[in-house]
Amino acid sequence: MTSDQPEHARTGSATTRTGSGPAPTGTDVVLEARGVTKHFPLRRTARDLFARERRSVHAVDDVSLRLRRGTVTALVGESGSGKSTVARLLAQLHPLTSGEIRLGGEPVVAGRGRSFRRYVRRVQLIFQDPFASLNPVHTVRYHLTRALKIHGRAGSGETELEENLAALLNRVQLTPPQQFLDKFPHELSGGQRQRVAIARALGADPQVLLADEPVSMLDVSIRLGVLNLLRDLKERLHLAILYITHDIASARYFADTTLVMYAGRIVEGGDSERVTQHPAHPYTQLLIASAPDPDRIVADEEQEETGTGEPPSLITPPAGCRFHPRCPQAMERCRTELPPRFDLPEGQWAACWLYDGAAANGTEPVADRTAVKEATR
């Protein structure tokens, strides 16, 4: 099958690389964001004209992240934290305000037309709502054929196209393919539709998949099926996947690395297990304390009041650390100075003043409320 040739070639080279050691090397990074910032300007009102102000929504500020081949990176945050904007920026759907996106080590600015198409061939986006992302008047065959043709992978002739279509559907476990090819989106269930959307993205044979809340619109009993499929694809095709979610438990389950975003900035990052079991940033701790957890029934009475307040306005974000108005451990410094990344043991890092100097002493995260609670139970 022609469609599988590049896949095999790539898998082969990647296996040798993984075989040489688990430590990721710089060459594994497929897509990288460096200091990416996006401000959406607001419409100017008369008052702004008088005040000579140009107000804007600070949707994403100084976000740096690396997507590596064969790994899933989760970006966790509340709605309005800017996590979807990051996906759109990485997909080159919006121009950046500042910063840089590098694909395979080269800085890229995909404009429109040809250069954009060249970019999306390597970086594909999956949307949240499979009910809206497929055209209701077209069949599965149409959606997939179009993706294959646009990206020049349809092959020559009818039979080759048929083979490629079948291969795509097999890859997302919609089998037998003949049963699904001529169906319209409304004839499929939510999970099947999302699988078609994934197949369409794979039609470009990309290196990077940006999945923006890929399962949150699906029924709970089929969410894991789709996540497991994505993980399987990651392993077989050595894709770099960005998994955007509000559900930190699913990030722990599915992602290798987890980044936590709050009010347009990434506040913590590291190995998923490390971030969820030993959250360092007070916001991550709040997020984990708030997540539904059936094990908590016993201890509900003694549980302290989890945080109050709401995310700040992104038009006039708070000075210093953006979490300080809600932070139980805010210090004077937090109100004025923006915390940089502080490195913690085991590759974890947090943008929080609590850890100023922590890396030097090699101390554990000091404010580990969740762990304390676990221990006292």
Binding site: V220, S221, L224, N228, Y253, S290, P292, R296, I297, T306
Partner: protein
């Protein structure tokens, strides 16, 4: 908590459509809500959980029809009301006064062109005409403070409030007349986890203060286990299992309950490979014969395809009920 019932649903059937093409949205629902308890109702889309909320409040709009069964409300004094046979006027008095509902996507249920004040006092003006304007405003302030919003936001329009605040205003409205029962249909699905927990904790506190009963409908079973006393799990228009929250969590009997519990990755403890449930929920118009879950069930055996299992207590577990041939 007393075991005195406040709402009993017996053999409730609801169809959409009346002719031969009618689909059965609810089948033989038996459910009892006790005074002061939080009853969780879990299920996926199409399982009939919202239809149940609408049927109980008689808000079901055509083509939905209640084709059988009864819904009885028990007043604290002891007399009981047959909700399905209330005349329109009695029904109007009954709703909100004794049973109120917070709708799915409630944040968008507020009227955008009216202030919070006018929407909160509107219900008081309709149900408590004896109150003076001043008293109504005072009550509205009281209600806002009850749900943790400062009283000076009374003059705000819905768009000036955040999603979480709007949701809390909706809860304040539902509590305005101190009803005995509050039905919450996915009250926090549109909110972030931090806000969700704040609102639910508030609700639990209020429940203790005001002693109302709650029917809490959601698809998030891990949330239900934490916040409700008893849980009923629905699948394909039927209740498939009903038990105390801790019992469901520790020892689910129905394979569907078990699958649902294993569809949520855990935040703590060992990382396990989870599979979810194969297949997808059935469509109401193409309901499998026998047990609706059997095509997706790993434990299905001979009788499952032909015979509908009845909801009954399992041999070894009184106080709970399960509809599965494995436990018959």
């Amino acid at each position: 908590m007393s075991a005195e019932p406040v709402l009993t649903i017996s053999g409730l059937n609801v169809d959409y459509g009346t002719d031969a093409g009618a689909v059965h949205a609810l089948r033989d629902i038996d459910l009892t809500l006790h005074r002061g308890e939080v009853l969780g109702l879990a299920g996926e889309s199409g399982s009939g959980k919202s239809t149940l909320a609408y049927a109980v409040t008689r808000l079901l709009s055509p083509p939905g029809v209640i084709t059988g069964g009864g819904v009885h409300y028990h007043r604290p004094g002891g007399d009981h009301v047959d909700i399905l046979s209330l005349a329109p006027r009695q029904l109007r008095a009954f709703r909100w006064q004794e049973l109120s509902i917070v709708f799915q996507g409630a944040m968008n249920s507020l009227n955008p062109v009216h202030t919070v004040h006018s929407q909160l006092t509107d219900v008081l003006a309709a149900h408590r005409p004896e109150l003076k304007k001043r008293q109504r405003t005072d009550r509205a302030k009281e209600l806002l403070e009850l749900v943790g919003i400062s009283a000076d936001r009374l003059a705000a329009y819905p768009h000036q409030l955040s999603g979480g605040m709007r949701q809390r205003v909706m809860i304040a409205m539902a509590l305005a007349l101190e009803p005995e029962i509050v039905i919450m249909d996915e009250p926090t699905t549109a909110l972030d986890v931090v806000m969700q927990r704040q609102i639910l904790r508030r609700l639990v506190q209020l429940r203790e203060q005001l002693n109302f009963s709650v029917v809490f409908i959601t698809h998030d079973i891990s949330l239900l286990i934490e916040f409700s006393d008893r849980i009923a799990i629905m699948y394909g228009g039927r209740i498939v299992e009903q038990a105390g929250a801790a019992e469901i969590y520790r020892d689910p009997r129905h394979p569907y309950s078990d699958g649902l519990l294993h569809s949520f990755p855990a935040l703590h403890g060992p990382r396990r490979e989870l599979t979810g449930i194969p297949g997808s929920p059935p469509h109401l118009s193409a309901m499998p014969t026998g047990c609706a879950f059997h095509p997706r069930c790993g434990k299905a055996f001979a009788p499952c395809a032909g015979q509908i299992p009845l909801l009954a207590p399992p041999a070894d577990g009184p106080g709970r009920a399960v509809a599965c041939h494995l436990h018959a």
